[in-house]
């Protein structure tokens, strides 16, 4: 088995508080890893760092052998926008300077405009080079990681409260043709065909999560447990490779919890990789192949569930004695 996610010496400080303090661990492909530890141990912060929502103060994370920071460099769309804007701005200045300042005619003005535009685009490209070459520069573009197949859920659920439950799910799939503005006008047929598929997929997911009866309800009207389910369904709709789940079954009723655990195991057998933060010991011990225990921002121990339950240090710091 290969290690799909390697975390090394990860650090994050908030003012005086050290939330993550040199955590080092690895996550095996096609496994379920449990991440446990006392409140405030730094589990959610670790997730934020791995999923790109926050920038680390030290350490590295590798996803399939590639540094996260490299994966999070600006997308092509973003580069086009900034480069284009620099070219337009500098070109306009060049053109005006040519005509009004240097007294050139239309042709000369077009010349200075082109020179200005070239300089503008060149300046943008140059400063991007310099920025990327700087030692230890960080990025925060979580969407780039999601596109690569590394997704997360939020511990405090975040749903699109004003949109329907169905729409919440239909937003998730990657690379929908209709997300491109030009396609909404020119490729309506393609868009509608895809949309029908996505809707079907979303309905299946709702059925699995037992949310089908509220599919047209606004997500803001859901109960706490239903929100957790929606959160889970949304990332599953992406069909990612590695899924970070932050307390996915907190507040979900026991029978549905069991069903979701079965589902997660099936997905694991199909090759998905999970890393799950969970305080429910029965769930996490039954589900996980490996357990990582965090305490005060660092990894305390790592091992199989049986060994962890016996571990003195873990019992002291987290599990307590019955």
């Amino acid at each position: 088995m290969t290690t799909v996610l390697e975390v090394e010496g990860l650090e994050k400080h908030y003012g005086g508080i050290t939330a993550v303090d040199g955590a080092t661990f690895g996550i095996e492909e096609g496994s379920i890893t449990g991440l446990i530890g006392p409140n405030g141990a730094g589990k959610t912060t670790t997730f934020n760092l791995i999923s790109g929502f926050e920038e680390p103060d030290g350490g590295t994370v590798r996803f399939r052998g590639e540094d996260l920071q490299d994966l999070m460099e600006p997308s092509r769309d973003e580069r086009v926008i900034w480069g284009g804007a620099s070219a337009i701005t500098a070109g306009t200045i060049g053109g005006i300077a040519g005509v009004a300042g240097l007294g050139l005619g239309t042709v000369g003005g077009l010349g200075t405009l082109a020179v200005g535009a070239g300089l503008g685009a060149g300046f943008y490209a140059g400063q991007e080079r310099v920025r990327q070459a700087r030692e230890g520069h960080t990025n925060s573009r979580p969407y780039m990681l999601a596109r690569e197949g590394l997704v997360r859920t939020f511990q405090i659920t975040r749903e699109l409260t004003e949109m329907t439950v169905l729409e919440n799910l239909m937003l998730a799939p990657q690379g929908q043709a209709g997300e491109n503005l030009a396609n909404t006008w020119l490729r309506r047929d393609l868009m509608e065909r895809e949309e029908a598929e996505v809707r079907e997929q979303a309905r299946e997911m709702l059925e699995l999560l037992e949310l089908d009866h509220v599919s047209d309800e606004r997500a803001g009207n859901l109960s706490g447990g239903q929100r957790k389910l929606l959160e889970l369904g949304r990332v599953l709709m992406i069909e990612p490779e590695v899924i970070l789940l932050d307390e996915p079954v907190a507040g979900v009723n026991p029978s549905l919890t069991r069903k979701l655990m079965d589902r997660i195991e099936t997905l694991r057998d199909e090759g998905y990789t999970f890393c799950i933060v969970e305080h429910d010991m029965e769930v996490i011990m039954n589900l996980s192949d490996t357990i990582i225990v965090m305490s005060e921002g660092d990894v305390l121990v790592e091992g199989e569930p049986e060994a962890i339950q016996e571990d003195e240090a873990v019992i002291d710091a987290y599990l307590g004695v019955d």
Binding site: S51, F53, S75, D77, E78, I81, W82, A85, I88, T89, R141, P142, Y143, A146, R147, V151, R152, T153, F154, R158, E159, L160, T161, E162, M163, T164, L166, E167, M170, L171, A172, Q174, Q176, A177, G178, E179, N180, L181, N183, T184, W185, R188, M191, E192, E195, A196, V198, R199, R234, V235, I238
Partner: protein
């Protein structure tokens, strides 16, 4: 001015502000980007298009401006000017977005407001750019030279038929929608006639009812052009088109209020009549103090009665908006049909009554100006008719509004629109799902600003003269009011909001006519206060606007 002319100028303003507010709705309603500087794009669009059609600047006179492509063929036309204005404002919107878009909502709003004020200041103080603080004039709206049309000429016939086309197509499309849920009237047969037999069968071949409506409009346009060229039948065609328009409007109103029971109807009519009665002191009382106090007292009584009714009777509360809507329809009907004939009725002239009625019914044509074709009609007497330029402009504006609305709806009723609405809800979710909010926000700013620029070009045509006041911040807030009243993020609601806002403006302008000239200015200024108060009431009682947020069938048809 005939009442129909008032309605036409009202519709022109609705079209301009409709486009402007649709633009703001993309930014604010759909994406959540609060742009207090939306008017900046309106200003740039207006000036850009005007500068393109103006002739080259004459250094000898007192005006100064740049560009002036008016004499270059193609480049100096309105069509080209509008396209440039739209693209330019779109690009500027995108550029402005880049440094500001990461700001939180309120900071973003203030920054954009600042940028729009800079635009306005540049226009105002750079006298070489667009005549500085003085008005920019000297251009005329497109095709105005063709009017009043010459019936015997080809150009005149074509100009006339363009207007016929738009009115006929719009009315036919509306009729085809009404036909489906009304079995009491012989709408099917009327539809078959007005589509020239294309009717329902052609819908399959042509694709949709809108295509059928377009083809029917085309046929009607060709026929009327022929009638005009061969026989100068201006009045006949005008009357036919007018009657068709009325039919569709009346059926639409009838259908909208089809399920009313008798007491709701009575309440609505009572409300409208009450409004009329409340305004009666204005024309009747001689002393201005008496008329104002009387009107205000009666208005207060009406509002109190309404409030009392909706708070004490449950069935009234259920239909509270219906009552107001019905009352407004009743009131407008009386204003349009009954009030103009009161004068001739008083002097007992039957031909005067019929003549006024006739002029207002045949809204498609303008009567009584010096130029035009003379007709002699039984009882009514002699009339001169012509197709006024304002009708033609109305056709152009409605066509633009309809086209832009359709294009915009296609863009937001899609996964693209879904991402925009998701950004308004929670950006972090959008990011966690692999979509870059930045890219979408920039696109939203580009589309919204381009619509603002287009509306600016329409304004340049309508007003035929621009000053830096075109970019006054009030305009943004009017657009925002329109968005809020109709329904944030609801394009149909935005159109409704534009109708309501300009309806209010027109009504108060008419009312101000009853005041002595010295007071009139104060009355017109005071209505800003009234608008503000109404805005607060709407926000308080209906935070989602009259139509509310749109329920999206998650992109495309749910089937």
């Amino acid at each position: 001015m005939a009442v129909s002319d008032v309605v036409v100028s009202f519709a022109l303003l609705v079209a301009i502000y409709g486009v402007l507010s649709l633009g703001l709705n993309v930014k604010f309603g759909h994406t959540g980007l609060l742009d207090f500087g939306h008017v900046g794009f309106f200003l740039v669009g207006a000036y850009t298009s005007a500068l393109f059609v103006l002739p080259p600047d004459d250094p000898a006179d007192f005006t100064n401006y740049v560009i002036g492509f008016g004499e270059i063929p193609l480049v100096g036309t309105w069509a080209f000017g509008i396209i440039v204005a739209t693209i330019l404002t779109g690009v500027i919107g995108g550029l402005v977005a880049l440094p500001t878009i990461r700001l939180r909502e309120d900071y973003l709003a203030i920054t954009l407001l600042g940028i729009s004020v800079i635009f306005q200041r540049v226009v105002q103080s750079e006298s070489w750019l667009a005549n500085g603080p003085d008005a920019l004039r000297g251009y005329s709206p497109p095709f105005q030279g063709l009017f009043p049309i010459e019936p015997g000429t080809l150009v005149g016939a074509v100009a006339f038929s363009v207007v016929v086309f738009v009115v006929w197509a719009v009315a036919t499309a509306a009729l085809s929608l009404q036909r489906e849920n009304d079995s009491r009237l012989p709408l099917d047969r009327i539809y078959a006639v007005t589509t020239f037999g294309l009717g329902t069968r052609a819908a399959g071949v042509l694709g949709s009812r809108f295509a059928v409506a377009g083809v029917a409009g085309l046929i009607a346009a060709v026929i009327s052009a022929a009638l005009l060229l061969a026989a100068s039948l201006v009045l006949l065609v005008g009357a036919l088109v007018s009657v068709y328009g009325w039919l569709v409007v009346l059926v639409a109103i009838g259908q909208h209020y089809a399920d009313l029971d008798r007491r709701e109807l009575a309440l609505g009519v009572g409300f409208g009549t009450g409004l009329l009665v409340a305004l009666l002191p204005l024309p009747i009382a001689d002393r201005i103090s008496v008329s104002i106090v009387g009107t205000l007292a009666l208005l207060g009584a009406l509002v109190y009665a309404y409030y009392h009714a909706i708070t004490s009777y449950e069935w009234v509360a259920d239909v509270k908006l219906t009552v107001v809507g019905l009352g407004a329809v009743w009131f407008v009907g009386i204003w349009y049909v009954l009030l103009p004939i009161l004068g001739p009725l008083g002097s007992g002239s039957l031909s005067g009554v019929l003549g006024t009625l006739f002029r207002n019914v045949v809204w498609f044509l303008q009567f009584g100006s010096s130029a035009g074709i003379g007709y002699s009609i039984a009882v009514i007497g002699d009339v001169t008719v012509q197709l006024d330029y304002s009708r033609f402009q109305l056709a152009l504006f409605l066509l633009s509004l309809g086209a832009l609305y359709t294009v915009l709806e296609a863009a937001v009723q899609s996964p693209f629109g879904r991402v925009l609405r998701a950004i308004r809800n929670d950006e972090a979710v959008v990011k966690s799902l692999g979509k870059d909010p930045f890219v979408y926000k920039v696109q939203s700013m580009v589309i919204g600003s381009a619509l603002g620029g287009f509306a600016g070009a329409m304004w340049a045509m309508y007003s035929q003269g621009l000053t830096f006041r075109t970019g006054a911040p009030e305009t943004t807030f009017i657009a925002l009011l329109i968005v809020f009243v109709g329904g944030v993020g609801n394009n149909k609601g935005v159109l409704l909001g534009a109708v309501l806002y300009w309806g209010f403006q027109q009504a108060t302008t008419q009312l101000a006519g009853f005041f002595p000239p010295a007071l009139r200015v104060n009355v017109l200024a005071f209505r800003l206060v009234v608008v503000g108060v109404l805005f607060l009431i709407v926000l308080y009682y209906m935070p989602d606007g009259l139509l509310g947020r749109e329920e999206y069938s998650s992109g495309v048809g749910d089937s």
